[in-house]
C-alpha cells in the first residue's frame, strides 16, 4: 500500500507559484528525503502534506485516503520541527503525552506509549524535566519522541538536525536511521544536507524551483543523474562541468566528471594551474584553473603533496564522463539523443 501519494499538487502564495505539478508516491515503510537548494519548495511541500497549508490544486492521499480537507491532527501524521517546538510549560512527559490526550486515549495506554518512546530514545531520566532544562540534542530527541508516541502512518521531519552541532548531528542521524528500522514506519525527511540525504534515504526526491527534478535511490541519483542540476547538486565536492569540445568530445555538449574520477597525468587532456590544495588527511582536493576562469576539482585519495600555482595535467576515463545538452538534459555522447530516465 502507498503511504502517501501526491497527484498534480500545486501551491501558490498569491502570484508566486511555489509548487508546480508535484506527482509522488511514498511506499509503506519507505524513507524518502526531499532535498534541494533553499527556496525550492521542499518545506512548503512538507507543510502541504501535513495539512498546515492547503493545496491550491491537486490531491494529497495518505494511506489511500484523500486528506485535502482533513485537519493536520486527523491525518495520521506526526511532525518534527527544526526548532524543536516543544511546549515550554510542559515537562518532557507532558510534551509527549499531549497529542495522545487530545486523541482521548486511555491513561494507561498513554503511560505505556510514553515509557516505550522514552526507552527507545533514552529519555527515561528526563521525563519530569522542562524543555528549558535540556540540551539541544535532548530537546530534539523529545521532539522525535513526541512524534513516535502517536504511532503515525507517516513521519514528517523538517530539517530536524539543522540546529545541532556536527557531532550531535551525526549521532541523531544514526538514531533516526535506527528508529526507521525498528518502527518500519514511512518517513519523509526534508533537508538541504546531502550527507543526511545520501545516508538515510531509500529514495531521494530532488526539487528545484517547485518542480521534481528526479526521484530515485541515492546511488541511482549519484551514478545516473537525469540532468546537470541533479549531477551538480549531489556529491561533495560537486561534479566538474566543462565544454565537451575542450577534451575532444562532440561540440555543443557539456561534459560532467566527478572529482574522484579525475586523476593527475602529466600528458593529460586537460592542462591546468593549481590554485588551491585542501589536505583532508584521508583525501586531497586539488582545485585547478583551466583557463577562461573555469575551475575544476580533482579528488585524490590519500595524501599528496601538490604545490599551488604549479602547472598540472589532468585526465579521466571516458566511461565515467556524463554528457549534457544545452538545456542541461543528460544525453548520449555519440548520438546526442536525450536519455530516457
Amino acid at each position: 500500500m502507498t503511504a502517501l501519494s501526491l497527484k498534480n499538487v500545486n501551491k501558490s502564495f498569491g502570484a508566486v507559484h511555489v509548487l508546480k505539478d508535484i506527482n509522488l508516491e511514498v511506499e509503506e515503510g519507505e524513507f524518502v528525503v526531499f532535498i534541494g537548494p533553499s527556496g525550492c519548495g521542499k518545506s512548503t511541500l512538507l507543510r502541504v502534506i501535513s495539512g498546515l497549508e492547503d493545496t491550491s490544486s491537486g490531491e494529497v492521499m495518505i494511506g489511500g485516503q484523500a486528506v485535502n480537507s482533513v485537519p493536520p491532527a486527523k491525518r495520521g501524521i506526526a511532525m518534527v520541527f527544526q526548532s524543536y517546538a516543544l511546549y515550554p510549560h510542559l515537562s518532557v512527559r507532558g510534551n509527549m503525552a499531549l497529542g495522545l490526550k487530545q486523541e482521548r486515549q486511555p491513561k494507561a495506554e498513554i503511560e505505556a506509549r510514553v515509557a516505550e518512546a522514552a526507552r527507545m530514545l533514552s529519555l527515561g531520566d528526563y521525563l519530569d524535566r522542562r524543555p528549558s532544562e535540556l540540551s539541544g540534542g535532548q530537546r530534539q530527541r523529545v521532539a522525535i519522541g513526541r512524534a513516535v508516541v502517536r504511532k503515525p502512518k507517516l513521519f514528517l521531519f523538517d530539517e530536524p538536525l539543522s540546529n545541532l552541532d556536527a557531532a550531535l548531528r551525526m549521532n541523531t542521524r544514526v538514531e533516526i536511521a535506527r528508529l526507521h528500522r525498528t518502527l518500519e514506519a514511512s518517513m519523509i525527511y526534508v533537508t538541504h544536507d546531502q550527507t543526511e540525504a545520501m545516508t538515510l534515504a531509500d529514495k531521494i526526491v530532488v526539487l528545484r524551483d517547485g518542480r521534481v527534478e528526479q526521484v530515485g535511490s541515492p546511488m541511482e541519483l549519484y551514478n545516473n543523474p537525469a540532468n546537470q542540476f541533479v549531477a551538480g547538486f549531489l556529491g561533495s565536492p560537486s561534479m566538474n562541468f566543462l565544454p565537451a569540445d575542450r577534451v575532444g568530445g562532440p561540440p555543443g555538449l557539456t561534459i560532467g566528471i566527478r572529482p574522484e574520477h579525475m586523476r593527475l597525468a602529466t600528458d593529460g587532456r586537460i592542462q591546468a594551474t593549481v590554485t588551491y590544495v585542501e589536505n583532508l588527511g584521508s583525501d586531497t582536493n586539488v582545485l585547478a584553473d583551466i583557463g577562461d576562469g573555469a575551475q575544476i576539482t580533482v579528488r585524490l585519495f590519500g595524501q599528496h603533496s601538490v604545490t599551488p600555482d604549479a602547472p598540472i595535467g589532468i585526465d579521466f576515463d571516458d566511461a565515467e564522463a556524463l554528457y549534457f545538452n544545452a538545456e542541461g538534459q543528460r544525453v548520449n555522447a555519440t548520438s546526442g539523443a536525450a536519455l530516457a530516465m
Binding site: 486527523k74 506526526a78 520541527f81 527544526q82 526548532s83 517546538a85 516543544l86 515550554p88 510549560h89 499531549l98
Partner: protein, 279 residues
C-alpha cells in the same frame, strides 16, 4: 556589571543619576505621605518637616473614613480598574493574535484601523459617549466606565501585543495544530504564556491612567454609589476651603492598591521563564 568592561567612575555616575532621578520622582509622594500625618497648621507652616510629637495627627484619615463612603469608592475604583484590565488584555490579545497569525484580506488595514485609537484621544467623543450611555441606560453604572476604558485601552494593547505575537515561533503553533490543539488552546496555552512580559507592560500602561482618571467618572458615573476614589476625594477640595488633611490622606491611601497591582504585574516582566521552547 562585568568587571572587565565596567569602569568604577562610570558605574558611580550611572548610579548617581539613577538615585537622583529616584529622589526627584518619589519626592512628591513622600511629601504627601508625611503631610497626611500632620495637623493642618503644620502642613502650611513647615510642609517639608517630618511629623513630630506636636504636629502628628490622624485627623485627615478620620475625616476620610467618617465622611463619604470611602470604602465603596475604593471598591468601585478597584472593580473598574481590574475589570477593564481583564477585558483589555483578553480582547487585545485575541485581536493581536488574529492580526499576527492569520492571513486574510485587509489584515494590514484592520491593524491600522485598530491602532488609530492611539492617535485620537477618546475624550474628544465625550459628548457622544454620554449621549450613548444615556440612551442605553448605562449612565451611573460601573459598566459605563469599564466599557469606555476598555475602548480607550484596546488600541495600544493590540498594537504592542501584535508585534510580540509575531515573534512567537510558528513551529510551536504548528506543533500544537498537529497534536490536535484547537486554535483557542493554542492561543491560551502556548502563545499567551510566551507574551506574558508584553501583557504585563500593557497592563501597567493602562492601569495607572484609569485609576487616576477624574474625567469620565465625573461625567458618566457621578452618583454616590458609583463614585471612584479620585472622584470621591474631590469632595474635600472646595472652591474656597480645601480640607488638605483629608485630601492628602485620601491620596496616600489611593497609592496602595496601584502599588500592589504594579508589583503583581512587574513580576511578570521577568524574562527567561519560558526559554527552551525553541532553539
Amino acid at each position: 556589571m562585568n568587571k572587565a568592561r565596567g569602569n568604577p567612575l562610570n558605574i558611580a555616575a550611572a548610579h548617581g543619576i539613577l538615585i537622583l532621578y529616584t529622589i526627584i520622582a518619589l519626592f512628591p509622594v513622600f511629601v504627601i505621605l508625611i503631610n497626611s500625618f500632620k495637623e493642618r497648621r503644620s502642613i502650611f507652616r513647615e510642609p517639608l518637616a517630618l511629623p513630630d510629637r506636636e504636629s502628628f495627627s490622624t485627623i485627615g484619615y478620620e475625616t476620610v473614613f467618617n465622611q463619604g463612603d470611602f470604602f465603596l469608592y475604593f471598591q468601585n475604583s478597584l472593580i473598574v480598574t481590574v475589570a477593564t484590565l481583564f477585558f483589555v488584555l483578553l480582547f487585545g490579545a485575541m485581536a493581536a493574535f488574529a492580526l499576527a497569525e492569520y492571513k486574510f484580506k485587509g489584515n494590514t488595514l484592520m491593524g491600522l484601523y485598530l491602532a488609530l485609537g492611539i492617535m485620537i484621544p477618546i475624550r474628544i467623543g465625550t459628548v457622544a459617549i454620554l449621549e450613548m450611555m444615556v440612551a442605553t441606560g448605562l449612565v451611573n453604572t460601573l459598566w459605563t466606565l469599564i466599557l469606555v476604558y476598555t475602548a480607550q485601552g484596546l488600541p495600544l494593547a493590540i498594537f504592542i501585543l501584535s508585534e510580540f505575537m509575531k515573534q512567537v515561533s510558528d513551529d510551536l503553533k504548528n506543533a500544537g495544530r498537529i497534536d490536535g490543539l484547537s486554535e483557542y488552546t493554542i492561543f491560551f496555552k502556548l502563545v499567551l504564556p510566551l507574551v506574558r512580559p508584553a501583557m504585563a507592560t500593557v497592563a501597567v500602561f493602562n492601569m495607572i491612567p484609569i485609576w487616576n482618571d477624574l474625567w469620565f467618572p465625573l461625567i458618566l458615573a457621578p452618583s454616590e454609589a458609583t463614585k471612584t476614589l479620585t472622584l470621591g476625594s474631590q469632595v474635600f477640595i472646595g472652591q474656597f476651603v480645601t480640607d488638605w488633611n483629608a485630601v492628602l490622606s485620601a491620596l496616600s491611601m489611593a497609592i496602595l492598591p496601584v502599588m500592589v497591582l504594579y508589583v503583581i504585574f512587574s513580576r511578570q516582566l521577568i524574562r527567561g521563564i519560558t526559554s527552551g521552547a525553541v532553539k
